[in-house]
Symmetry: C2
Subunit: 331 residues, 2 copies
């Protein structure tokens, strides 16, 4: 049985150990070949662990005295936080002691420390953050969703290649359809950067370019990978999450307010819960930092146990599908 080793930044994210610890124990129980290094304050982790039962033999604590704050500038983290839980996790990956890193901490710091410690793949100009969006039969990959406020045509073109490799790696599909985010489907629309990027992507025979797409196409079954700069991609990601949370909230309010709906909700709670879970953005937690020479997955900062568990699951999938080799081959 092949062993699979993850480093978990135990202190990162809004909930810290309250999310990372139970999620780690949960996934260890399900995957027998998995071992996890929890990086963080030794005393705090030990105390928290003692409250949990079960087999903890594949869980190792690696002490880190420091932590990267959620609002810390990446440049500050670069200079002062290599000994943080995030920094040590990335160093373990660099040293080949783990197969991947998961963190719910500060995204900018994770990207900056990742570039410093894990380094970029030689061909890569700028790494990108890649997120999953649900579609009826599977999912759509969006990148960049936050690493680069702006992107040149050449950088967008590389995002297309990296995203295409990740999608293939996750699904086995050989020629995923790549779309470029724009404000209209007609080729006349959009900025010069976007139009130039379209030409570069179109010209690469390894890529299956399907033209411009719009913000509504993240849920489309007509496209597999959506490429954008990090500003527009981040806005799209947050807008989708915001809409889903709003609708979930309205669904709850609706069933609370109407006596008949409340009766239905009581009688058929498992079905309603299933539907709510299907539209829960946390299920699609776990953004990949693409372009690094190693697998680094960013869990949502507000992840709770179930959100963090989803991110861990995606990380295991990335390791198993040999993501990095596939990206290097595509570039």
């Amino acid at each position: 049985m092949a062993s699979l080793r993850l480093a978990v930044d135990a202190m990162g994210g809004d909930l810290g150990l309250r999310a990372t610890l139970p999620a780690s124990l949960q996934i260890l129980q399900e995957i027998p070949e998995l071992s996890i290094s929890l990086i963080g304050d030794q005393g705090e982790i030990s105390a928290a662990l003692s409250a949990h039962g079960g087999d903890q033999s594949r869980l190792h604590i690696v002490h880190a005295a420091d932590v990267v704050d959620m609002d810390e500038k990446p440049s500050h983290a670069l200079r002062h936080k290599r000994e943080s839980s995030m920094g040590i996790a990335l160093q373990l990956l660099k040293d080949g002691q783990v197969d991947a890193v998961v963190s719910a901490g500060n995204t900018g710091a994770l990207m900056a420390l990742g570039c410093l410690l894990v380094e970029r793949l030689p061909q890569v100009r700028r790494p990108a953050i890649c997120a999953l969006f649900p579609a009826h039969n599977g999912f759509t990959l969006g990148l960049d969703v936050g690493a680069n406020i702006a992107a040149s045509p050449e950088e967008l073109y590389q995002f297309a290649s990296m995203g295409s490799a990740l999608y293939s790696s996750m699904t086995g599909q050989s020629a995923p359809r790549v779309g470029l985010l724009n404000v209209g489907e007609e080729m006349i629309k959009g900025t010069e950067v976007v139009r130039d990027a379209a030409e570069l992507i179109q010209a690469d025979a390894k890529l299956n370019f399907c033209g411009f797409v719009e913000g509504g196409d993240y849920f489309s079954e007509q496209v597999d990978v959506i490429v954008s700069d990090g500003f527009a991609g981040n806005v799209a990601l947050k807008a989708c999450e915001g809409t889903a949370n709003y609708i979930r909230g309205e669904l709850s309010r609706f069933s609370d307010q109407h006596p008949v709906a409340r009766l239905i909700a009581a009688l058929f709670w498992p079905l309603i819960r299933k539907f709510r879970r299907e539209i829960d953005p946390r299920r699609y937690n776990g953004a990949a930092l693409l372009g690094l020479n190693g697998i680094v997955i960013k869990a949502h900062g507000s992840s709770d146990q179930s959100g963090y568990y989803a991110a861990l699951h995606q990380t295991v999938q990335a390791v198993r599908s040999d993501l990095i080799t596939n990206i290097a081959r595509q570039l």
Copy 2:
């Protein structure tokens, strides 16, 4: 009783007359002081009208031989389409023969012809398109959602003023909370343009600036007006619509697939339909073109009757609240 006169671009939009005509008849029935000029092909409109019954005395046909195509370049429309249904509608507004124009046609052409024929308010640098997003207790205004691919700090600042005036006009609220779209709430994040715009908005005592917001905040109850360039705003708008449509679709599939859910759906269809309607993006149809010296409302290109009706309703509200005077005062 004050009279209220609208010009409707009858030929615009994907469905053309099939949406604009029944929606016009519907709103005329509800608002006795309203009269509508339907601009388009006289023969087609007459033929379509004869299939409808009811009082048509407050509906006037104005013949237009031409129509702006949905994928026509704005520059082409400017040169060749002043005699189109869209162009004639805008000319009627300019001449003071109607109080507002509604069109589901080509947005770029509507903006270009609007600037030419209706003209901008003297102080306005760039007009913007403003859309409504539902929130639990009311709505959020987003602008720009598509008129300007990029925007300078000064232009974003003007969008804040115009959006604030529109929100006040629609709700009576004197100091709506204005947020600036960014990729993070911390002041360190985002582009230089966005950071400079924040300083300008902050410095204006007439504006109630609440700082940076993210894509998820379009549904927040913490902000009333969200300012962005047209690229990011358009992506957000489409992403929200896409998510809502995706969830509506999943809800339908869910109730089709599960026998118990199908039973619930059959028994409680009115309740379910009410919920689906509440999360239907078409309800929030009707984007305002802000910055022109007259009220021009853009209905969604794919509007059906109910979507177009919502846009007409919003137009009536804008006229009644004396929108243009309020914007001029705010700038």
